[in-house]
């Protein structure tokens, strides 16, 4: 009648991608302490990303940005009941091993931290914990999936409060998927070459008309309208980093962005949640940035 405890398979592809599927239509919020994590959960976040500094502060402070202190991650895990994610540096499988041992629910191999390897990303198949990776275009997304990523997020430009790069990356990924879906069999080989991605994945995307894993959006979302925009463009969920806790009223911004993500195509509700919100995080012009985080990753 019931399955024994020994007949269970953990850490499978299906289980890893499955959690990403459950987060669709939701908001994943960056938090730097247990108090913020609670604010995020109370506002309806589907998950939190535990880190020491939000991207806007990493940008301001400079220096090497690394994985968070385990004590910080544990404090956040102990206060919320929703999934807790944490970031490892690109290629830093040592940090990823620590995060897996901490039993975080997802690891973000993130360009927001300083890369540890300028050629290799983490071999994510070697882990039971699922990974999310950033991408600026379809080729990058497929390379990350071939390394074992179970979720892709468009990179945008983190810590800027400027949605323009997120839009650029989403449009690039989704536009190429639409073109690929109409390519004939000979053209698909050329696509694989151009994208520098495995042919099997190119085939799969062509057949399904979408990535084999969920595609979320990150990097620059600062208002409910930003969330609605990227959801209408085809993102399946949103990551909000500095946009909530750098705003004038974090609990209200958090709640409003959750509502806007759920009701992204309903202007009446978008008006309601946007009204009288107060100051969004201060934004930055992309052309004036010293560091373009989205350029990290290969």
């Amino acid at each position: 009648m019931q399955t024994g405890e020994n007949d269970r398979e953990t850490g499978t592809l299906r289980v890893k991608r499955g959690l990403a599927e459950m987060l669709r239509g939701g908001v994943i919020m960056d938090v730097v302490n247990a108090h913020q994590a609670k604010v995020a959960e109370d506002a309806g976040a589907v998950a939190v990303m535990a880190l020491e500094r939000v991207p806007a502060d990493i940008r301001r402070d400079g220096g090497v940005a690394r994985m968070s202190d385990p004590a910080l991650i544990e404090a956040i895990q102990s206060i919320v009941t929703i999934p807790v994610m944490a970031k490892a540096r690109i290629g830093h499988f040592g940090e990823a091993q620590i995060l897996e041992a901490l039993r975080v629910d997802y690891i973000d191999e993130s360009e927001v931290l300083t890369p540890a390897d300028e050629e290799h990303h983490i071999d994510k198949w070697a882990f039971k914990v699922p990974f999310v990776c950033g991408a600026t275009n379809l080729g990058e997304a497929l390379r990350r999936i071939s390394e074992g990523a179970a979720m892709i997020r468009s990179k945008g430009e983190a810590g800027t409060g400027n949605v323009v790069e997120a839009v650029r990356h989403l449009r690039s990924i989704l536009g190429d998927i639409r073109k690929l879906a109409t390519a004939d069999s000979a053209e698909r080989f050329a696509w694989a070459k151009r994208l520098q991605a495995p042919y099997e994945l190119v085939e799969e995307v062509a057949a399904r008309g979408r990535l084999p894993v969920p595609l979320f959006c990150a990097g620059g979302i600062a208002t409910p309208a930003d969330a609605a925009l990227v959801m209408q463009l085809g993102a399946e969920a949103v990551f909000v980093g500095s946009g909530i806790f750098k705003s004038g009223d974090p609990p209200r911004f958090a709640r409003a962005i959750v509502e806007a993500t759920a009701h992204f195509a309903d202007p009446e509700i978008l008006v309601k949640v946007s009204r009288g919100l107060g100051d969004a995080m201060p934004g930055a012009e992309i052309s004036k940035l010293d560091t373009r985080l989205a350029e990290r990753g290969w």
Partner: protein, 209 residues
């Protein structure tokens, strides 16, 4: 007296979660799918699905959208419903390890523990026999899944898993409601959705007679 001709109209709660997989499965089985985000979307429905997702988020969005009370009323009045994972939590009467202000719909007399197996690393897949389903075991995917810790007397337990030597229900039925702790929609397993549509068909036939 003849059976209604139009396809059954099944609502899928579309505020958050894996709505697409449920919708695709129901369409494939011949249902007309309505994505439900507002109270007016509940009109004219013959059946309902509560998808997988984050139950604390769904509980909040159900309240802010004004859907909570009308949906609870429709379900209490016997609208056939299938809930998976977060959907099981929402169908129950009591949630354990939930958020302190988390509201549930209270359709089935269950006490459901969230994240009963632990964090994502404990998520798993396994074959599971479900009573009343023909054609062999169900391949079940449990993602940070809940289990039932207490089931009321009118609740039929159709499948259980073992945890620490104790059998805990993961598929339960009561009246026209079926609560499932795993995700049939992720594996192309459509027998539980068929059950829902059978329930819908028998109610419509009853109403038309």
């Amino acid at each position: 007296m003849s059976a209604p001709q139009r396809a059954p109209r099944v609502g899928v709660l579309a505020l958050q979660g894996d709505v697409r997989e449920h919708a695709a499965m129901l369409s494939e089985l011949g249902a007309e799918v309505v994505e439900v985000r507002r109270p007016e979307d509940l009109e004219g429905l013959d059946g309902f699905v509560l998808p997988g997702g984050e139950s604390t988020t769904l509980s909040l969005l159900l309240q802010s959208s004004g859907l909570f009370d009308p949906l609870a009323e429709r379900l209490a009045a016997g609208l056939p419903v299938l809930g998976t994972c977060a959907g099981m939590i929402l169908l129950g009467r009591e949630v354990l390890d939930g958020r302190s202000d988390q509201r549930v719909l209270g359709v089935v007399d269950l006490s459901v523990r969230r994240n009963a197996f632990g964090r994502q690393l404990e998520s798993f897949e396994a074959d599971l026999d479900v009573e009343g389903l023909e054609g062999g075991p169900v391949h079940a995917v449990f993602i940070r899944a809940p289990v039932v810790e207490r089931a009321g007397e009118d609740v039929e337990v159709l499948a259980s898993v073992e945890m620490g030597g104790v059998k805990l229900p993961v598929v339960c039925r009561s009246g026209a409601a079926t609560a499932v702790a795993f995700h049939p929609e992720l594996t192309g397993e459509d027998r539980l959705h068929r059950l829902l549509l059978e329930e819908v068909a028998s109610r419509r036939k009853g109403a038309g007679a």
